[in-house]
């Protein structure tokens, strides 16, 4: 059973870091690399197992069976990993590993590094926990672990006003959003008396109430905040540029996915929609009108992809531009999930979900690459103002090459991986409603304008600021080149990946026959 090691290894690594750092200056960095590398290996093993067997792994903490002694319902904490969770765990561990390697060079001049590596491992642990958990209060605990680590990391450079201000705004409003999520959990517990997601789904299907709807509204509202949808995207645009670049890569690439979009999809499909299984359909399921949820998500998605990409055009700060672009890309993912909810059970819905999942993975890789490029530029030149950065292409050719690949991929140029996922989202939204596809294309036009500006800045006339600039050291170049290689390789076989991985993942998330719920129901013996 390898699943618990996904949490144990980073947890042990994080809290042994202060002791390990006593042994020597360099050792703590190697320790962080070893721990995150081991996590990557474990997550790859779990992903391969789930993908090969196509079955949900159910793991109970502290016992063999989730059912309590003498009662007929699950009371223990359950971890439930389907293909969606395993895929995200692999992405998180991969990008986290590269961010740790990048930190070796990038954070060399900072102090308090043992705290930095502790926090980065805790951040990774929180995200991994979110994607594997099957218990809703456990989900809240991991969400808060992730959130607190990211608040602290945004304000890590506390000698600058930018980090502190962004950290305060992120932290206060983020804690309020978390409180709303906790309120939703309290309401669900009070009404149904259970915290296990799958059992909650059965209970809600048997007896849908107004309380469940109110709880769902609190979940969606709080999680839209965590994923940075418009109009609650403003903390994102402040916090992501203020963090150190390796952290920005993790925040933009992973945190808003694991803590936001993944959780929205899991709660909507795992708890409130029991699929088309006969036993669960026998009640008046689904408990909540799926059309209303779908249109709410699509509404916020359209707003997000228009405003996010449009705001990216007018920024002069490179990292702020990337952050707004992240807001825009979250819009595409939410659009995919919304259409998957609306067109549930049809071809378009499955395709939209597959596109959304594909775009989650692609955007994690691309945005991590772009923020690492921005970090390399800041590290070597010392500014992130686009007006002062013209002409970098001659001085830093490898960095510029990485940027060109990343920008082309995020706009969606054909030979790269961003094209396939965006194309699937366009196609499925056009199949459902052509107006939505038109809005999505308008968003891409803004995105193109924003990245073209940065590209022309890089290729333009040389400015005074960059006379001394040269390529960064190896530990910063290598993660960028690995990401470039992955983006190109994934771009070369888009449809194979889509058919082999993304569509089965979408099927498992969609759980037409209630597989996610049935995995637990086996233990109860009912149905």
């Amino acid at each position: 059973m390898t699943l618990p090691f996904l949490i144990i290894i980073p947890l042990f690594g994080a809290f042994s870091m202060p002791i390990v750092s006593l042994l020597g200056k360099k050792i703590k960095e190697y320790w962080a690399v070893i721990v995150s590398g081991a996590t990557l290996a474990v997550s790859a093993k779990i992903f391969y197992t789930v993908w090969k067997t196509n079955e949900i792994i159910l793991y109970t903490l502290g016992s063999d069976s989730p059912i309590g002694k003498g009662v007929k319902f699950p009371i223990r904490i359950v971890w439930e990993v389907d293909l969606f969770g395993a895929l995200l765990a692999l992405t998180i561990a991969f990008v986290g590993f590269l961010a740790v390697i990048y930190s070796l060079g990038y954070m060399k001049h900072d102090t308090g590094l043992e705290k930095y590596y502790t926090l980065i491992l805790i951040l990774e642990l929180g995200m991994l926990g979110i994607v594997i958990t099957g218990d809703i209060f456990n989900f809240y605990v991991f969400l808060e672990i992730m959130s607190i680590a990211s608040y602290a990391l945004v304000a890590f450079r506390n000698d600058t006003w930018e980090g502190i201000e962004a950290g305060i705004k992120y932290m206060f409003v983020g804690s309020l959003a978390s409180s709303f999520i906790l309120l939703g959990i309290a309401l669900l517990y009070g009404q149904y008396g259970t915290l296990t997601m799958s059992y909650l789904a059965i209970k809600i299907a048997e007896n849908p109430t107004l309380v469940a709807k109110i709880a769902l509204a609190f979940f969606i509202g709080g999680l839209l905040f965590k994923s940075g949808a418009v109009p609650v995207h403003m903390w994102l645009a402040d916090a992501h540029p203020a963090a150190p670049s390796s952290i920005s890569a993790m925040l933009s690439g992973l945190v808003i996915k694991a803590g936001g979009v993944y959780a929205v999809a899991r709660i909507v499909f795992g708890i409130f929609n029991p699929g088309l299984h006969a036993y669960l359909r026998a009640f008046n399921a689904p408990a909540v009108n799926m059309d209303v949820i779908g249109w709410v998500i699509v509404f916020f998605a359209c707003l997000t992809l228009l405003v996010g990409n449009a705001m990216a055009v007018v920024q002069t700060d490179m990292k702020r531009l990337f952050a707004f672009s992240s807001v825009g890309q979250i819009g595409y993912i939410l659009l995919g999930i919304g259409i998957g909810t609306l067109a549930y059970g049809t071809k378009a819905g499955e395709l939209a979900l597959a596109g959304a999942i594909y775009h989650i993975v692609n955007h994690a890789l691309i945005k991590a690459l772009l923020f690492l490029v921005a970090g390399a530029v800041i590290h070597q030149v010392g500014t992130k103002n686009l007006n002062e950065l013209s002409g970098l292409a001659k001085k830093m050719p490898l960095t510029t090459f990485s940027f060109v690949i990343g920008a082309a991929a995020i706009i969606g140029l054909p030979p790269l991986n961003g094209f396939a996922s965006k194309w699937i989202i366009y196609e499925s939204s056009a199949m459902y409603n052509p107006v939505l596809a038109a809005i999505a294309v308008v968003g891409t036009v803004f995105s193109l304008a924003a990245y073209t500006r940065v590209l022309f800045t890089f290729l333009g006339r040389e400015s005074d600021m960059i006379k001394e600039a040269k390529e960064p050291e190896k530990s910063m170049i290598i993660p960028m080149l690995i990401l470039v290689a992955v983006i190109i390789v994934m771009g070369l076989l888009p449809w194979q990946i889509s058919d082999k991985i993304m569509v089965p993942t979408a099927r498992m998330l969609e759980q037409l026959n209630g597989e996610y719920i049935m995995a637990l129901l086996k233990f109860i013996g009912g149905a």
Partner: protein
Amino acid sequence: MFGYWDALYFLYAFLIGLIISYLLMKWAEKVSMGTRRTGDGTKIYISGEDQDKVIPHFEHLSGYFTGRHVMWGLIRGVHRMFLVFRREHTGLLTDYVAYLLITIAIVLGALVIGG
């Protein structure tokens, strides 16, 4: 598959497109009104709203609008949209909280009424 009456769909789409483009043109015409510098502090009142200050040899511009006006109007409109977006990002914590509450209120309202 493709029936006789399905052709009406294209007519319908065409009519909606016509209406949208008319509204867009009207909007662009309104937005494009204003002053434009030509140098040395002279101003040309393109829309002719100020009859006394129309500059000689530019009289033909008053009261008309051309494709160029529509283009400028669209550019100015988009620019104004960006300005509005930027102004909304006030950086006040209170506003962030208010937006969070509004979002939750929208979702809650939609789910309680329609769900």
